[in-house]
């Protein structure tokens, strides 16, 4: 029991991201409104970002900006003092990508709305079937 508890406590961050991700995925699959789907998509992407960022965390470390006038001659920089910068870099990219996707998705949603005057998927499909 203790073992299990420890497992959960030590890794709760992953559970959170998985929960978030599944919320997003569910919205993507099950929601009828296109904008809600897009929101779900964004939650989904954000969950992945959270996952990555949480990889970078180190206990007792600070942000990865080396102090100014760091005296390198006397003291080597210890990597353990700074959090892992790589996931942050990657997630900057991923954030930008998700923004770009969001932009294109919204543009297309506007086109869809303009064409069918609704954002409810079942109504749109009904219109398509009837035409």
């Amino acid at each position: 029991m203790e073992e299990v508890l420890r497992l959960v406590v030590e890794r709760y961050n992953y559970w959170i991201y998985i929960t978030l991700m599944m919320i997003g995925l569910y919205a993507l699959i099950a929601k009828n409104n296109l904008v809600k789907k897009i929101v779900g998509m964004n939650i989904f992407q954000t969950a992945v970002i959270l996952f990555y960022v949480s990889i970078g965390v180190k206990k007792g470390a600070t942000i990865p900006i080396i102090e100014h006038n760091y005296d390198m001659a006397h003291q080597a920089i210890r990597a353990a003092d700074y959090v892992n910068p790589l996931p942050h870099v990657l997630m900057l990219t991923a954030i930008v990508v998700s923004v770009a996707t969001l932009g294109v998705a919204l543009a297309i949603t506007i086109m869809v709305y303009h064409r069918y005057l609704t954002l409810e998927e079942d109504e749109i499909l009904k219109q398509i079937r009837e035409s």
Partner: protein, 276 residues
Amino acid sequence: MKNLGLLIVVLVGAVLIYATTDFPPFGDPESPASLHVSPRYLENSLEETAVPNVVTSVLVDYRGLDTMFETTVVFAAGVACFLLLRVPRRRTPAPRQYRHRLTGLTFRIKDGGEISLPLQEFEPMESIWTPHDFIIEKVCCYLIPFIQLFGLFVIAHGHHSPGGGFQGGVILGASIILLSLSHDLRTALKRMGEKTSALFSTFGVLIYAGTGALCLLLGYNFLDYQALDPLLPGGPVMARYHGILLVEVGVGMAVMGTMIWIFRNLASRGRHEEGL
């Protein structure tokens, strides 16, 4: 659909959770991710690129290619929104409305007619239009310059503090977007036209890719800012430092231009009318 979605979600979630048991604990400084590649960035960044902000140096230098494509993604999104939404202006005879600048009186001209009054006193307007709120207008007028200044600072100071081209570019873009929100789209367009924002976005990416290509021309690898040494003061390490700055400016331009571009096309469904 709902049940299917639930089923899929539960299944996928279960698989993902199943794997977490083998993950290193949260915040473990001994995790492989903290031990394998990243230490070098932390330990050598200052020495190799003279940039204290390791995120910046990794972003723009060590993994500069990713960032170049990332900027390209933004650019592509801008072009995509333009391609999909922008309605080309067509000269079809239709009723038009004009507002007298000084008095605020509005005129309606029937199908394609012309006004005989001096044109510079009038401005065209659309039917969807809301009057401006004086307080918001003024407050934003004072805010915007400071926002822009801050944006420039974030770009320029990205080497030493959190920030950089993306963040600064977004802030700059937001200032123009705030202008369109507080006033109207046309006012903002007058300050920064569609062509300007599009070219900003294009040339921003071009600065990035061009810097890379310049390195190539100077006989080094693509994006190896060391190549800029002969052009910039301070030796090869500082060449990297300056190269990063150059690229950050490009990123800032691209992001700012694209944000504004996308916003306008989304907000007005590509018509660029006065209202939003």
